[in-house]
């Protein structure tokens, strides 16, 4: 019996928009995210390297940390029963200290696979000042009925 709050498959409809998440990025955000993902490369902590070697205006968020932001955004919406199946990123620009990044999402698909697993497909977009920096397509499994638990699925019953 699942007692934690959960989004159910029937709660999602194509075209639904997820409430945006706005976050003011600082140098600490970038460095903390890089170190939390064990990414020691200097463009994520060394301003001089980022500017003079990479030609960017500052250090910038690394990809694994962006993935963590997308996961947080999606599971804030689904609740802990939501289980990620697949993520696909397309990076179009970088996110720097001083940026206010906004994550927003829209439901693009709702379906049930042959094993009975309920899936929601989302397009999550990270923007800064209205400009898209990263698009992320996310496939997340959610319960189809009370008591259903995507995390209990193993092997052939999990088809991400």
């Amino acid at each position: 019996m699942i007692t934690a709050p959960a989004l159910m498959l029937a709660d999602a409809h194509v075209g639904d928009e997820i409430a945006p998440l706005s976050y003011e990025v600082t140098a600490t955000t970038v460095v903390l995210g890089a170190l939390a993902s064990r990414d020691w490369r200097p463009m994520h902590h060394d301003h001089d390297f980022a500017v003079n070697r990479n030609g960017t205006r500052d250090i910038f968020l690394n990809t694994p940390n962006q993935a963590a932001w997308f996961e947080r955004y999606v599971t804030d919406w689904t609740g802990p029963a939501g289980r990620l199946g697949r993520m696909k990123f397309r990076m179009k620009g970088s996110v720097f200290p001083g940026d206010t990044m906004v994550l927003s999402g829209v439901v693009e698909g709702v379906d049930t696979d042959t094993t009975g697993c309920g899936w929601i497909t989302l397009l999550v977009t990270l923007t800064v000042d209205g400009e898209t920096k990263t698009d992320c397509s996310v496939r997340v499994a959610v319960p189809t009925l009370p008591g259903d638990n995507p995390w209990s699925r193993r092997r052939d019953r999990w088809q991400p």
Partner: protein, 194 residues
Amino acid sequence: MTSADGAAPSADAVTGVAEGAMDMAEGLPDDVAALIGGVQYEAVGEFPVERGYVWTSCSSVENGNPLFWDDDVADELTGGAVAPPTMLSVWFRPHHWAPGRKEEALPLQVHFDLKTRFELPEAIMSDNTIVFHEPVRPGDVLRTRQILRSVSEPKTTKLGTGRFWVIDVEYHNQRDELVGVESYTGFGYRRNER
């Protein structure tokens, strides 16, 4: 040192050419063609999956998902603690330093090999797909292996002239269960002269 990175400095410059750029190149050098589809760089993680990093990662993005903070919720939903799925690559990034290490250890070595092979000093990652399979749990010791899927013919973008390539990284746990697959699309290039 390299400028290769998933959060590309100006990846918009390659967007639009990435689609369709992954067609296998004809006339690829034999030594590179021989690598397509082969397993390279099988390795075991330098340390077991552990909760300290889970909490540090969640903290870095203010992720309050009780699955990672509340043992009762984890027991109920996942039969015990699990790591956030998006931390998959974290467990394989090498220490910045380790005793006896003579050279810098690099994640995704195939990517750097290709840069060297084609003499392309710069690189970015334009696309990244992650497929999550069995949950990763504290105490797991993961194995990884890299598989080169394709290399394009030479392409010119706003960034420069170079080649696209697709590399898969497969992750298994100590029970030989597949826990995830990452696919990276990289673009190694030489800057255009201005």
